[in-house]
């Protein structure tokens, strides 16, 4: 019962956390670029404004798909704070990702089509890595359950340092940061307009943004698992990780999807194999 309550509270609070993280993200980025930057609450202003725009779409499928995306992201966060099965969460997350892409593909816009294809390649790139991270966690704790990580007693980072880097790759892709922001970029002036987001407008875009906040909370939650033993350790790990993401975002340029697939699979697999071998031998 307590777990259910915690998970429910998490689902209610997650968009707030996710929005604040997005706000801090923009503030820090501005600081790195020696600008002042928008207020911390800017992402909330954006989303509320979008909610108030008049609806505009190409077909009803888009509406269907964004709602399913949102529901699946909420359910993922719910399951995470329930201490449930990591692999199951990942599959639930996939529902949303697949529907999101389906919605973009359902439009006849060439930009959304190309963006959706790229989004599929990004999914193809990070999904195996996340599964491998989960498998490595299961190899250490003997279970896929999140709750077992907390009873394990030692930070996972000691045994899975390389897997944390692998998760970092996935996090960078999921946050749509350079060099992997190829399917939809935060900035204008790119060759496919807003990529996979091009044809989603107004309220749909707001829902996608909220769903994205849920996803960010989930992925940051995964990072937090690597230091689940103390609150401060966990907090420091998250702050350092996120700051590293921002630096990477600001010092790299967008790359091509081919480069992404080759590099991330190459490094991700190499690091995973090394780490798992070391676990195996150790």
């Amino acid at each position: 019962m307590g777990k259910l309550l915690l998970a429910t509270i998490a689902v209610i609070l997650a968009p707030v956390i996710g929005g604040l993280v997005a706000g801090l993200d923009r503030k820090c980025t501005a600081w790195l670029q020696s600008r002042v930057g928008p207020p911390i609450l800017q992402p909330f202003y954006d989303v509320f404004k979008l909610l108030g725009k008049s609806p505009m779409m190409m077909n009803p499928w888009q509406i269907l798909t964004v709602w399913v995306y949102l529901v699946s992201s909420m359910l993922t966060v719910f399951l995470f704070f329930l201490g449930s099965d990591l692999l199951l969460m990942f599959f639930v997350l996939t529902i949303g990702a697949v529907f999101f892409v389906m919605g973009a593909l359902s439009t006849q816009s060439p930009y959304a089509q190309v963006g959706a294809q790229r989004e599929l390649v990004t999914m193809l790139t990070y999904e195996p890595l996340i599964i491998l991270v989960f498998v490595s966690i299961a190899m250490v704790t003997g279970s896929f359950k999140v709750s077992e990580v907390f009873t394990y007693g030692k930070p996972l980072l000691y045994q899975l340092p390389l897997m944390f880097v692998v998760l970092g790759y996935a996090l960078t892709i999921k946050l749509r940061k350079s060099p992997f922001d190829i399917s939809a970029c935060h900035h204008a002036h790119q060759e496919i307009v807003r990529g996979v987001l091009t044809e989603y407008s107004g309220p749909q875009l707001a829902l996608i943004e909220i769903a994205h906040w849920y996803d960010v909370v989930f992925v940051l939650g995964l990072c937090a698992l690597f230091w689940a033993t103390s609150f401060w350790g966990c907090a420091i790990l998250l702050v350092v990780t996120y700051f590293a993401e921002l630096v990477i975002d600001n010092v790299t340029a967008r790359m091509t999807y081919k480069w992404m697939l080759k590099t991330v699979w190459g490094w991700g697999l190499a690091l995973s194999v090394l780490n798992l071998l070391w676990l195996y031998a150790g």
Partner: protein
Amino acid sequence: MDILVFTTVVLPFLAAIALLLLRDKGSRSLVVVGAAVVLAAASLALVGQGSFEYSPKSLLGISLDGLIMLLDFALLIVILIMAVTKLKSTLVAALTAAQVVGLVYLEFFMGHGPAIAAPAMFADKLSLIMVLVISIVGSLICVYALGYMPEHEEHLHLAKSKQPRFFFFLVAFLGAMNGLVLANNLLWLYFFWEVTTFCSFMLIAHDGDETSVKNATRALWMNMTGGVAFVFALIFMQKSGVGLYLSELLKPGFSAAGAAAVIPLFMLCYAGITKSAQVPFQSWLTGAMVAPTPVSALLHSSTMVKAGVYLVLRLSPAYSGTMLSGMLAMFGAFTFLTTSALAVGQSNAKKVLAYSTIANLGLIIACAGINTPAAITAAIVIIIFHAVSKALMFLCVGTIEQKIHSRDLEDMRGLYMTMPKTTIVALIGVVTMLLPPFGVLLGKWMAIESAAAVKYMPVTIMLALGSGLTVMFWARWAGILLSTPYPKDVPAEPQPSTVRAPLVLLAYGAVLLSLFVPFLYGGLIEPAVRSSHKAAGYIMDSLNFVSAQGIFYIYPLFLVLGVGFYLAWKAARKVNPAECVGPYLCGAQATDDNKAFVSTGRANVGYQAGNFYLSWIFGEDRLSGPINMVSGVLLAVMLGLLLGGVI
């Protein structure tokens, strides 16, 4: 009891003969639908009976063992004659001749050991699950063929209908398949095995054009290598004094005899690998896609290719704990990864389905190789759900192809505007193949977790990569089907009821079966695993699947996602057509055409966006060579290691 077995195994053969003789359409429909209903009912009754052992001795006074032997030789001689005269394929002829020689040697020149009191047929829950899948999914596909074939022949402009022959093989195949999964006597099993190979060959070559015959020949010789291995396994067993029965192989402690015991097991598994078109034999199954769609759905996705994995799975307790088990897991995972990659590189819908089928069969073999109760559970779950969803997908593609005269994914853009009902059914097919809370995904979840549980690293990595690839080719397919403007004036879609009914029933089946999976598990799957592996893989906790590693919620997920989907559906229904605009085309779009830019001289210039097939990495021409080489080496290494143990 004997009447039920007779109905499931012999009746289809009788119905097939009737179909060959009755050439008019009305009686054909009557026989097929009648046989389908009787067969489905009999299979359900058989399951109601539970596990059994059964030794039929004679049919109409003829000893059955002798009859089967006679038919065996007859079949091989027919294939031999065909190989020499029509196909002019020395390879097929040589492989067939080798089997004839081997069988003659086995029958007439080897000392028969003491007679073993084993039943000729036996059914445990695993066989019964297979019988259910064959009799129900198979029957539905046969009914679908009634509506499909006339249309198919119309395109070929035949002088004389070939349908009687087609339905003869299609329906006879059901009997052979049921016989195969109920047989305990390995000679019987071998006979049915070869019958399915022969049916497959005849049905692939059905249209009679050059490509069909060529691909059918390829399928034949590849499967024949499996047949040779099968005969070799029988001779080997006879030599070492093991009775030619499955039950003998499954006796505890069988593999303790070391390599001598494992070699026949490997040979049988090799036969299963060829039958299931695992790499390097994948080309026969992709080539088989030239056959009419019901054939692809029935033989090459839901049932016949499952015979291979059935045999591998059936023998899993026998090779448990041996090196063969680990090698099989590697091999299956390798197939899963590589064929998923090949599927990403394909724009031909039937080929995508074919590769995806091979991938799922690979996953089942990987689970059999992992060989823990949880993994075996995964294998059975995938067998059931994959059969339903994949048959559905094949039938959809066949229906779509007859309408738009193309099987290319790119031509299926915006299909909803021409075939709304079939599109929705196809989407259900994709979603049940790909996403939770449906059955195929439950199987995948079990597979990955059980691979991780035994810390089988290479297998786990391959499964992870393969899963990512799977998502890619299914998701894009689902997306482009919906690629429409605001769907107004969508025409009604007339379809013969023999086509519509199987589609709708399979779509409902795919969803409802997943909904009842806890009961399916308790009633059939768990007993099947328990009877072979002495333990259950999962315990049910308030109808959720719980193992030592994790938990998979069934009804909570169904509830939340179902309610979520319903609300999303309602929100989408509320869309006002006035809110729908054209795509963003930098402001330069034509006023009269949403799919064109205004170019110089006010001309409308259309645009196109295609899928990423990533052929620079996943193309057939890039990958097939290396895949065949690596998998060939894997098989050779398996054999070498096993032989090394003997020598």
